[in-house]
Symmetry: C2
Subunit: 408 residues, 2 copies
Amino acid sequence: MVPSLAGATQDEVRRANLSLVLRLLHRDGPLSRSAIGTTSGLNRSTVGGLVTELVDLGLVVERAGVGRGVGRPSLVVEPVSSSAVVLALDVRVDRTVAALVGLGGEVFTRVERQHVDALGDPGRIVREVAEIGREVLSSAPTGAVWVGTGVGVPGIVRAEDGLVRQAPNLGWTDIPFAQLLGGALGSGARGVQVRNDADLGALAEHLRGAAQTVDSLIFLAGDVGIGGGVIIDGQALVGAGGYGGEVGHVRVNPTGRPCRCGAVGCWETEVGAEALVASARSHGLDVVTAIDVIELATSGDGVALQVVQDVATWLGVGLVNLLHVLNPQAVVLGGHLAAVYGAARGRVTEQLALALPAAREQVEVAPAALGSDAVLVGAAEIAFEPLLNDPVGLLNDLSADVLVSAAR
Amino acid sequence: MVPSLAGATQDEVRRANLSLVLRLLHRDGPLSRSAIGTTSGLNRSTVGGLVTELVDLGLVVERAGVGRGVGRPSLVVEPVSSSAVVLALDVRVDRTVAALVGLGGEVFTRVERQHVDALGDPGRIVREVAEIGREVLSSAPTGAVWVGTGVGVPGIVRAEDGLVRQAPNLGWTDIPFAQLLGGALGSGARGVQVRNDADLGALAEHLRGAAQTVDSLIFLAGDVGIGGGVIIDGQALVGAGGYGGEVGHVRVNPTGRPCRCGAVGCWETEVGAEALVASARSHGLDVVTAIDVIELATSGDGVALQVVQDVATWLGVGLVNLLHVLNPQAVVLGGHLAAVYGAARGRVTEQLALALPAAREQVEVAPAALGSDAVLVGAAEIAFEPLLNDPVGLLNDLSADVLVSAAR
């Protein structure tokens, strides 16, 4: 209940305002000084001072904008994408995707590589991830400062120190991933932010994807498991230990199938990719992936369509539960769930109609706009957070050992 | 993503700090200046200036504290409970409970009265509620300023304007309750804050009850329906339209009973007070209320115990779902759910053991500390919010028509 202005001094206010302006430019791209003023609520002279400070830090430049008539063209403030870069990593069950992303969101490099040994020793995966990370970092523009590393993993993560508590599909329990990767990258644990992949997907879809216009959303990462990322009133719902949004284990069917987690009838046993494939096979279909089943269904196979419709019904049942608890404005469907929705939307809608009107009338259900890069984009965003929160403090703190040059 | 310091001026900072200090005193009671400094992070001279301002406003006094040795006793800053009062109302299905509450939480008057006609015309209930409200206000101490009115109702409420969207057990749909009550009280709609009863219960248990030491909690109001109030990271989870926490309609049993809402197997059809009574009667027990059943169970009736244990199992099933989505630090059980937990805790624990360890290991389940007054206490807190947010602004704004004297 204590507001965040608690004991704010003038210095703190200035720091917060500097953060605000840099965050705006990072998210929205080039803006005129007056647009910055309008969006931030800061007055002209304050904006001027803050822009000058950001220019001095090398994070933004001012250049002539495209004029809309005669006279002097107005100045536009633009983030310098090569001034500060982050390493973004999406560690999946079978592969790692890595990207070097600049301030403002520009992707300089993107590399995708299969794990040599998917369920092996976590130390081995750390070494593989660090190797691809260093490779990506070596492509950084000259002079770029490496300001952080963000990682998404398919598991339950303690955000404060990047401990992966449980990642059943990787076979990990209590792996200090941030610390291990920080060591392998030579950046120390400080700069490595690890999060649940679906939480990063939610952040990405909120900042740069299908849910930019809303403040409250649920992102569902459809894969073997069903991960959920929740943002309420613009803030990630992380929960007491950073474990909120484990929606795959909401029990929707007490008489359903046993789940890997030990319980029965968890949502992911009804709508996960494996459930879809297993159900299709039990009906005699020759399929390997969830997408195979959905393609069959959309190309007119009646049996496949029935299988997909059943999954769509359970997708709707689980969504209704989430709408009642969270009352979001948007549900963004990732992975195969987007395809299930596309192929059997009517069944989802049928279930949503059973929700209390107040809970369903304001919600939009939409497929993810960033496709399979949502987690990667979210990883970059979380890595930029320390810079966006306190640009002066972070740049002062960074010593030579975390400059990109040192990683080469 | 925009921080709350956006464009803060020095004036705004001072206002926020004044709010912070008043909020502390309201919540924690008398504090020394140095304790205020420690808790707020404000320095000595800032605290001194703010305390002086609050003394000038008549909201606090400084008096000699109890000395801990020789020498001059230290000064203690104390909220003046008779300086500002609120009208708190808990509108239940069968009755209204009203209280006059002073700054700091002192209850001056508490009145409880049955509705003449429970499911009648909402206009009639508004008149009854206004009448009991005026009666309570007339007991206000001389000079007290009536700063607001808070109301809890068993329904889905749009917080911004106090429209009751759906209150099935009152038979209401889209009733502009804040506006109607404001009119009947002669205070205008401005001063009337209406909220879902469970949301207020959560607020009250968080500020003054069983969940003071945590930041994330779920409060379950056990009655005919099961209302839920959720607080995450110290903020109420209100959702897109203020309808979050409708946990009674999370579907736990697709093959269960039909619910009043039109769906099947909603949580409240398994653990609501009516479900408990109906189940007991179907087993031949002669009971009227949920508490009757639980008393039979605890006094050794094996049939009643079985009925309560079944409800406890479903209580556990639903809790597991909420833990996975919200990952709270505490679950506070109100109404008969507290008694069910007391009588058959083992069954709840058995279900909780099926949750993912990360979701369950940090959570405490506890009965409500404020008992049946939780909603009333929450209503008072929400009514004090405008004063606590901006004491100077609110007291300046208040004109003669909202002074207590005018309500007499």
